[in-house]
Subunit: 381 residues, 2 copies
DNA sequence: AAGTTAGTTTAATCAAACAACAAACATAAA
DNA sequence: TTTATGTTTGTTGTTTGATTAAACTAACTT
């Protein structure tokens, strides 16, 4: 445990003030004093420091409310930039954002034919391009966050990627030594959860569960406004929660895993034939019965697992990340039906089930925001 | 968010010092300075305060290590006393402990024929008796913690007790107004988890899952060394996690709930005939095949749910609270077999599965320790 | 001109760190 | 046994630094 001294006091109050400016700008010193409870002189001193450090700037005078006009302060969201990378099973997203999480540059790649080595090369050149075209700023590139579809341990090493071959690749070291900035490697579901918490559907929630439904099902747990990672970093493997203990074998070793029923892969296997995305879209337009039956089933199986999640966590919200769910409220309704039929009135009315608002950018944005938060916390070091 | 000032600094350091004394006594001022990093003069000043407040006393001189002999300090665990009550479905435990959690007085009651009103009367008179016979101390009774077998919301109201009739009983108000000390109402599994974390099998763990197996299955989640309660206080209802979505209906509304297979009630129903505890004990002695088969099955079904828990939380440990498990390592082995057969080598070797060490006292002790922690935190207010 | 609001300056407060010191002891050489 | 040396413990007085209250200047509204 840490010991407390005046330095800690200053750090805490500085952080608090910066957060207030970030989330409520434009705001005046007087107003900061009111909202934080800190003395006016304390506010002035701290703000001056952060103005000198280029994190905050004065935007000019605001409206008077019967006296001297206030000087409005803004967070300098262009003080630096972050890169977020989402390495998927067969695609990659690379985003450059400012400190507000606003996307400056975005690039999407198809990885269907790529080996990890080729992907790393692509990642490095893309990052370099982004750095080269990045606007000039006091702090430049403040960090690179990378998420991968698999298990990442507490040392940020990739230890298991069921659908790809990233196991053991020393991604953190490679990227860190190339660009000499802080690098974080994170699980895709954790990054997505983080993104939704900072910028997306879960902004207002402190306790929520983020569910990424694709080839498998990945879960990010945000409990008490913090990502819960587990001892080894492997929490949220709820895709491998059994929902039928006599069910079919899964390659995780378990039987009747949730993702064997409710993943997008399972959904596609449940279709009468193999339909590509265009085919599915056009059948949606035409209210195709077979498709809707499959979608309803998809929602139903999702719902079965969600009952377990609601019973386990009693969360404020569950955020679902999947293109089909985001574009079809119908799936969400099917899912809610299963929930209300399987839970006596209690949770279903008091827990929000929402689609992701960041969509496919969620994990990369989450990766960015992790670096941004690290950077902002470092400001007060 | 709170603002920081010198008062906070003092509080934090005082708390830190007190914790150090509690957990490493006897200890000298010099040693405290070393372990905490606080300056010797700071330590001296803070300790003096707590000596004056009767929380710490000087026990005398310790061994010299080549210089002046140190003055050894001890936590005054007899500065006050706490009462912990565990109201079960058909029994009640009432404990009086000192601030160390050592039991001073213990009483056990059979509630098989009691209504809530009768139980409350019994609780109040027992508490009064304990207060009357309690040793004199500077702070007297510092609080009463009570746990109940059901759902307790964040306002500490009892909202659902499936197997009894405590719903809506204003227990907190009743007890608080009778004794005029702080009262906490808590769910039985949460209290048990807390107890094991402070005094029992989970002392060394920051992230663990406590599982209370009786009529139903209750789960207490300790994540990051804190009890995770959920938004409404209803987390850990994992007894109603489906492990067979086509399974039999449960009165919670769900199907194939874990506790329909792995509760003690389910275990007893799985026996060829109704055996009482003595019968079971004697058959255990005689290595009765039918009983052992049932126990193995019991372990197997526990294991199925524990795989889900391991996949969900990636905990350091799982603590199992049930008399049969505590007295029969055999069940634990059966359970571990199921785990290793259903999880590819990863968790089973790195997550400890342990029986409760506090046994039936776990929840009441947890309730005590909640009050003690509240009190100790209040010291530094 | 009077009253309000914004922001700065000044002096006081307080907790911890620092530095110097005294007390009490261990060790080993004389 | 005696003495000298160095170590450890705990206290005392001083300094540092962040917050704060209060006084003050600045700028605006009515």
């Amino acid at each position: 445990m840490m010991i407390a001294d005046q330095n800690l006091v200053k750090k805490m109050n500085k952080r608090r003030l910066l957060q207030e400016v970030i989330h409520h700008s434009p705001i005046s010193r007087a107003n900061l004093s009111k909202t934080t409870g800190l003395n006016k002189s304390t506010v002035s001193a701290q703000i001056q420091e952060m103005v000198d450090e280029k994190f905050i700037f004065e935007i000019g005078q605001g409206q008077s409310s019967g006296g001297r006009r206030p000087v409005m302060l803004m967070f300098n969201k262009q003080a630096g930039y972050a890169i977020g990378v989402d390495i998927g099973v067969d695609d990659m997203t690379v985003l450059l954002t400012d400190l507000d999480g606003s996307i400056v540059t975005e690039r999407y790649f198809d990885l269907k034919q790529s080996s990890p080595d080729e992907t790393i090369a692509l990642l490095l050149t893309t990052n370099q391009q982004m750095i080269d075209t990045m606007p000039v700023s006091p702090y430049g590139l403040i960090g690179i966050g990378i998420c991968v579809p698999g298990l990442v341990n507490r040392e940020e090493q990739i230890v298991l990627t069921p659908n790809t071959h990233w196991n053991g690749v020393e991604l953190k070291k490679i990227v860190e030594s190339t660009f000499n900035v802080p690098v974080t490697i994170e699980n895709e579901a954790n990054a997505g959860a983080y993104g939704e918490n900072i910028y997306g559907a879960a902004k207002a929630y402190d306790d929520f569960i983020y569910i990424s439904v694709s080839t498998g099902i990945g879960v990010g747990l945000v409990l008490g406004n913090e990502l819960y990672r587990g001892v080894h970093g492997f929490s949220g493997e709820m895709g491998h929660m059994t929902i039928d203990f006599n069910g079919p074998k899964c390659n995780c070793g378990n039987r009747g895993c949730w993702e064997l029923y409710a993943s997008e892969k399972a959904f596609r296997q449940s279709l009468p034939r193999e339909w590509n995305d265009d085919e599915i879209a056009s059948r949606l337009q035409k209210n195709d019965v077979e498709l809707f039956r499959a979608l309803e089933n998809f929602g139903h199986y999702l719902g079965i697992g969600l009952v377990n999640i609601a019973n386990t966590f009693d969360p404020e919200a569950v955020i679902l990340r999947n293109p089909l769910i985001e574009s079809n409220p119908f799936v969400l309704n099917a899912l809610k039906n299963t929930l209300s039929s399987r839970m006596n009135v209690r949770f279903d009315t008091e827990c929000a089930f929402l689609p992701s608002t960041l969509g496919k950018n969620a994990p990369a944005l989450g990766a960015c925001s992790m670096m941004i938060e690290q950077f902002i916390n470092g400001i007060t070091a």
